[in-house]
């Protein structure tokens, strides 16, 4: 299956790793790029300082657990509380995954090897998903380990922790597909950052406004749907339905039932469709 480009100078008779290895290499390369590994120091500043900010609540939480035997903040609400940092990470790093290949028009070079568009897009999405999952799940895990080591009175909140990590994976898939789809629309990095953050801030700003407008004019159950515009609250609503955690919104409640998780799946499918359409066009240029 795999092919070695033989231009007649020197023959290759080493091991042939197959096309899965190609996709894996592309994914690992993209994942390293998200964190600026293998790039100059100034590319590492942003991802690592944002990852460090994600650890602040963990440090505070472990310190208060150790000193005054109290939990501040819960596992299920961690992603919602830190949503601005996660969104900035997504906005600043998503273009670094997709923009350079589009700008330098090297996609036909990739596709001249046994890599299909689906595998290329899959590797990019997987890299961003793993990066976002690590960003949220590592602090959660450190907090849980701290919780176990401090040995708080009562049983450890294992169920809540596992639910939060599961939802971190769902959130990572949702954010990476939508974020990459938005970032891939432009080959310029700055515009990619701006378009991702614009969509996030619009959803965050509009959600409470829509809720308030509908709630105050009597459409109370309709107002609850307003919260689902924001991706973090959408995933939180799915968590409430799946794991029975408390809702982390300023006011009101989410609409119950499986609707939030269905919306998440629909959004992921739509973003993947946009991505593959975009790359099919880019490949033919």
């Amino acid at each position: 299956m795999s092919e070695i480009y033989d231009i007649g100078y020197r023959h290759y008779d080493g091991p042939r790793l197959g096309r899965h290895h190609t996709v894996l290499a592309l994914g690992v390369h993209s994942l390293r790029g998200v964190f600026g590994l293998g790039r100059p120091a100034r590319s590492k500043i942003m991802p690592f300082s944002l990852a460090a900010i994600m650890m602040f609540p963990v440090v505070v939480s472990i310190a208060t657990m150790a000193m005054i035997q109290q939990r501040v903040g819960d596992y299920s609400g961690y992603a919602v509380v830190m949503q601005a940092v996660v969104a900035i990470f997504l906005a600043s790093q998503a273009p670094t995954v997709v923009a350079p290949d589009l700008r330098h028009r090297v996609l036909p070079l990739y596709l001249s090897r046994p890599v299909t568009i689906t595998e290329y897009v899959g590797a990019k999405v997987a890299a961003m998903t793993v990066a976002l999952f690590l960003l949220v799940a590592v602090p959660l895990t450190v907090m849980f380990v701290g919780d176990l080591l401090v040995d708080m009175p009562g049983p450890p909140p294992t169920g809540e922790y596992l639910g939060a990590v599961t939802m971190a994976a769902v959130l990572a898939v949702l954010l990476s597909t939508v974020g990459l789809a938005l970032a891939a629309l432009t080959p310029r990095r700055g515009l990619g950052v701006a378009s991702v953050i614009t969509v996030y801030l619009l959803s965050t700003g509009a959600a409470p406004m829509i809720y308030a407008a509908l709630y105050e004019s009597g459409y109370r159950s309709a107002g609850a749907w307003g919260w689902l515009i924001n991706p973090f609250w959408l995933v939180d609503a799915a968590q409430v339905w799946l794991f029975g955690s408390t809702a982390h919104i300023p006011d009101g409640a989410y609409p119950g039932g499986p609707a939030p998780i269905l919306i998440v799946l629909a959004l992921i499918a739509a973003a993947m469709a946009v991505l593959s359409a975009r790359y099919r066009k880019a490949a033919s240029q």
């Binding site: 900035i88 619009l202 409470p208």
Partner: protein, 238 residues
């Protein structure tokens, strides 16, 4: 003002898909205003809330960011700024021209929609529409200048600008009272307060501080951007 540079910059920002990004925010504001008035929430309290939280709090910094960095950062990013730098046009003049373009875009895409949104909700009551349009205009001009400077100084201008707008203006500004004095949004609200006579709105910073601060920040940022352009050196891509 160099009209050729201005024309090229307008074309770069308004061409093709990029204008969608600039249109998205004002359209969302007007859509929210229409929704409020449709569901009967068209009172002064709602209008002030929408103006403070959405028009000045979300739309304005984002538009300032997109316009302010958009006039220069993409050119630096892909290296085409070298063609502009090699022309016999003084670099401070380039900075002033780019600033004028960014400021005009903020006026069209932030101040005008703000007026429209407030007008949809409450008409011309108590000067809410005119006041917030004025506040958005002056604060937007200051944002355009600051983010233009940021675009010249660093390649991560958009990310740093977002962190400034989100963390400093929203988070620190709402937690630490003293930090409010050093927030462009608050200065804009002070200017708006001079026209708005609604009892639901009160600015936190005095006019005697806000106006000099706006002028100093705007002029200093554009001046410094011009200075930075004079000693500008293109560094390699990462």
């Amino acid at each position: 003002m160099n009209t050729v540079v201005a024309g090229i910059t307008y074309r770069a920002l308004l061409g093709r898909r990029r204008v969608v990004l600039l249109l998205l925010l004002p359209l969302a504001l007007i859509a929210l205003a229409l929704m409020f008035s449709f569901f009967g929430g068209g009172d002064q309290r709602t209008a002030v809330l929408l103006m403070q939280n959405f028009a000045i709090g979300t739309l304005l910094p984002l538009l300032g960011l997109i316009a302010g960095t958009g006039v220069i950062a993409p050119e630096i990013d892909d290296g085409t700024i070298i063609h502009l730098m090699s022309k016999p046009i003084s670099r401070p003049l380039v900075a002033w021209t780019k600033f004028a373009v960014a400021a005009s875009l903020v006026a069209v895409f932030a101040a005008v929609p703000t007026y429209l949104a407030a007008w949809i909700l409450v008409g011309n009551e108590d000067g809410i529409a005119a006041g917030f349009a004025l506040g958005t205009l002056v604060a937007g001009i200051a944002y355009a200048a600051v983010f233009l400077l940021l675009g010249v100084v660093t390649r991560h201008a958009v990310t740093i600008g977002i962190i400034y707008a989100l963390v400093w203006e929203s988070l620190v500004g709402s937690l630490v009272p003293g930090a409010k004095r050093f927030s462009i949004q608050q200065w804009g609200q002070t200017v708006a307060d001079q026209v708005v006579t609604s009892p639901f709105f009160e600015a936190e910073v005095t006019l005697a501080f806000a106006v000099p601060a706006l002028v100093v920040v705007t002029v200093a940022a554009v001046f410094w951007a011009g200075r930075r352009l004079r000693v500008f050196s293109l560094t390699g891509d990462e």
